[in-house]
């Protein structure tokens, strides 16, 4: 059972969802590249063709590799992706708020991490300075 946080209309919650079947990008494309659930690496160039996927998971090799954050921002803003955007891999409780603000709506924590702590810190601040995917109005405009 994966350890998941999911953002919904009621905000972020710990959810029980069955283990998803993920295809690598190349396998997914070979199989026709539509619907389904695809995983991509943090150094991938986003593409129009990904938009038909039901879910895109970005595999973070480490929490320090911030490329996955830019990838999420591009997918949500430049490409207008509306499906599930899942962060997984080297993520932990104290980086979930960066992931959330960059447009990930599902965060899969590795086994052994603490979902309650992650949920507690999914929003350490009541508001932020800069515009982001989750906060489209920058503070200086308020």
């Amino acid at each position: 059972m994966p350890q998941l946080l999911r953002n919904s209309d009621q905000g972020w919650q710990i959810v029980d969802e069955p283990d998803a079947q993920w295809q690598s990008l190349s396998d997914w494309q070979a199989a026709g590249g539509s619907r389904g659930r695809v995983t991509v690496n943090v150094d991938s160039e986003p593409d129009q063709s990904w938009l038909s996927a039901d879910a895109i998971a970005v595999d973070f090799p480490a929490l320090t590799d911030g490329r996955g954050l830019s990838l999420a921002v591009l997918l949500r803003t430049r490409y207008g992706y509306t499906g599930d955007l899942v962060a997984r891999g080297g993520v932990h409780e104290d980086v979930v708020h960066f992931l959330a603000r960059c447009g990930f709506n599902v965060i899969e924590l590795p086994q052994g991490r603490d979902l309650q702590t992650a949920l507690r810190w999914v929003s350490p601040h009541t508001d932020y300075y800069q515009a982001s995917v989750s906060n489209p109005t920058p503070h200086f405009l308020n």
Binding site: D65, G66, L69, V95, C102, T126, Q130
Partner: protein, 557 residues
């Protein structure tokens, strides 16, 4: 200066609460050393050779008397009674206990300060001209723009996990005291204080010192200031996505700019910017006006002409005369002056100040400079708005607190990193070298005769002492397990229209015991060759490195 709103205040307080929880979880064993490392760096905490080191952010080097008093308190209560002024205008504490840091951060938050992003691979403190808002040669005060960048970069969700650290410097004066040419992003702003929203900015990218020193490339000339954030965002996104992550010595933006070429890099940034330009982060005029209002001139009063009094005081107090000559500079307002309080005394590591000295400077700021202090990247304090009629009184008190070394710009006004005594990255100790040079060339008359010389010392290639842009640069190297020192000449941080220049290595490195003799030879060559009152740098540029090389290495041949 900028005043925190409730928004700013609650932000830093919430940050402290988060870090307190992280510290507790680390001490409870729920976070590994590596995991906590990344979190504590982004809250300013390094673990060094002897003890943790906490780097407090002093945004664009400006702080109030109240804030400075709080730093003195922290030095007393949590440290060994002193602080250290860094080469990026921050203050560092060398001996805090790890478990005390949340309390220290709370003490900072209580005076509207923080240590957010002063370390780690993220956007660091934006630095600027230590004379901002005061210098006679200033065109526009850069600090409202620095404050905007500070806010925009604080906990930016996309750019907290960059390939490497990221440093931005901004100038608004003819003479670039912020060394924008050797920063990851350097900005030169043009305009006037009355209408900040109409300013233009030249943007340089990919400058830096360290292992592979290089000057920044001009990638946008004359950008209307409303695009400041969207264009910076474009640069950051390109760097975040394409900067190298395989090798930490090749991960700075300067490597990316070189790899893509400046034109190639600019093309990528401009392409990204087409999607951001005129978007939601375009800054409206009233935002610039609102920020500008925090940096309006202080309540100057009409000042009497004190030239006769000063002339008299100069005659009766030769030390005051020297101090006026070197440490006091012209102010844009008649009757006022800009004062540099030197932390450089023989036997004191450059930049180190006791809690008593810190409190004293805070008091003097209150009394003589509208409650405002600056920290310069030369590791000195600056009181930017002192009435000339009060200079003598200030000087007397500074003398009593060992902060009146009249050596601003002179040989003993060195930039020196903490080096091997404190820093685990160092190849060699730097502080004993600085002290040896200070003692050897202590004689003021000799220093005065030498004139302005920037002597910069770094304990390793990371160049925190800015040795590449010293007129004389000293770099600690490890030669077969021994501490050796490589000397370079002719570098400078950039002056007026002249871009910065990196120094030339003069020859093989020398043992520590020989460094003073080498410096002595260099200075004697200069004194022997100079024409009239030619500065060291001008002389070097005229005669080249050969005479220095010959003289230093002649006896070894």
């Amino acid at each position: 200066m900028y005043q925190y709103s409730e928004f700013d205040r609650s932000f830093v307080n919430q940050r402290v609460a988060h870090y307190r929880d992280q510290t507790q979880r680390y001490l409870d064993g729920k976070l590994s050393d590596d995991e906590f490392l990344q979190l504590r760096l982004r809250n300013g905490l390094y673990i060094q050779r002897l003890a943790p080191m906490l780097r407090v952010a002093v945004p664009y080097g400006t702080l109030s008397s109240k804030q400075l008093h709080a730093l003195a308190s922290i030095a007393r209560n949590y440290d060994r009674g002193y602080g250290h002024l860094s080469t990026r205008q921050n203050m560092q504490f060398n001996w805090p206990a790890l478990e005390d840091v949340p309390d220290i951060l709370q003490a900072l938050a209580d005076v509207d300060m923080h240590a957010i992003q002063t370390s780690g691979s993220c956007i660091r403190n934006v630095t600027t001209d230590q004379f901002a808002g005061a210098a006679a040669d200033e065109q526009i005060d850069p600090r409202p723009f620095c404050e905007l960048l500070r806010q925009w970069s604080t906990s930016h969700p996309e750019f907290e996990w960059l390939p490497r650290k990221f440093k931005i410097a901004v100038t608004g004066a003819t003479q670039d005291r912020a060394a924008i040419g050797v920063h990851d992003i350097g900005m030169r702003i043009y305009g006037d204080d009355a209408s900040p929203e109409n300013a233009l900015v030249d943007i340089y990218a990919g400058g830096g010192l360290g292992r592979t020193p290089v000057l920044g490339a001009l990638i946008y000339q004359g950008l209307p200031i409303k695009h400041l954030l969207t264009y910076t965002e474009a640069i950051m996104r390109v760097y975040n996505r394409y900067g190298r992550r395989d090798n930490k010595y090749k991960a700075r933006i300067k490597i990316l700019v070189r790899a893509l070429t400046a034109e190639g890099f600019k093309a990528k940034v401009d392409e990204e910017w087409t999607h951001l330009k005129d978007g939601v982060s375009t800054v409206p005029a009233d935002t610039f006006q609102r920020l500008g209002e925090f940096f309006t001139p202080p309540a100057y009063t009409d000042q009497p002409d004190v030239s006769a009094t000063l002339a008299d005081q100069r005659l009766t107090h030769p030390a005051f005369n020297r101090w006026l000559t070197h440490n006091v500079g012209p102010h844009k307002r008649e009757g006022y002056a800009v004062v540099t309080l030197s932390t450089k005394s023989v036997g004191v590591p450059p930049g180190d100040v006791s809690s008593e000295q810190i409190d004293a400077v805070a008091d003097w700021a209150e009394r003589y400079s509208f409650g405002e202090i600056r920290i310069s990247h030369e590791q000195n304090f600056v009181l930017a708005h002192v009435a000339k009629s009060q200079l003598f009184e200030l000087w007397q008190q500074a003398e009593a607190h060992a902060l009146a070394s009249h050596n601003n710009g002179l040989l003993s006004d060195m930039i020196c990193c903490p080096g091997g005594d404190y820093c685990s990255l160092a190849n060699a100790k730097s502080l004993p070298v600085a002290e040896a040079i200070q003692r050897r060339f202590e004689d003021y008359d000799f220093q005065f005769d030498l004139g302005d010389i920037d002597l910069n010392i770094s304990g390793c290639m990371n160049a925190c002492g800015h040795h590449h842009v010293g007129h004389i640069g000293i770099l600690g190297v490890d030669k077969k397990g021994q501490e050796f020192y490589q000397i370079s000449l002719g570098g400078h941080a950039g002056h007026s229209e002249i871009p910065p220049k990196l120094g030339q290595i003069v020859g093989p490195s020398v043992a520590r015991a020989e460094v003073c003799d080498v410096i002595d030879k260099i200075l004697r060559v200069y004194l022997g060759l100079r024409l009239d009152h030619e500065s060291f740098l001008s002389c070097f540029n005229r005669v080249g490195i050969a005479p220095f090389k010959e003289n230093i290495y002649a006896s070894a041949a």
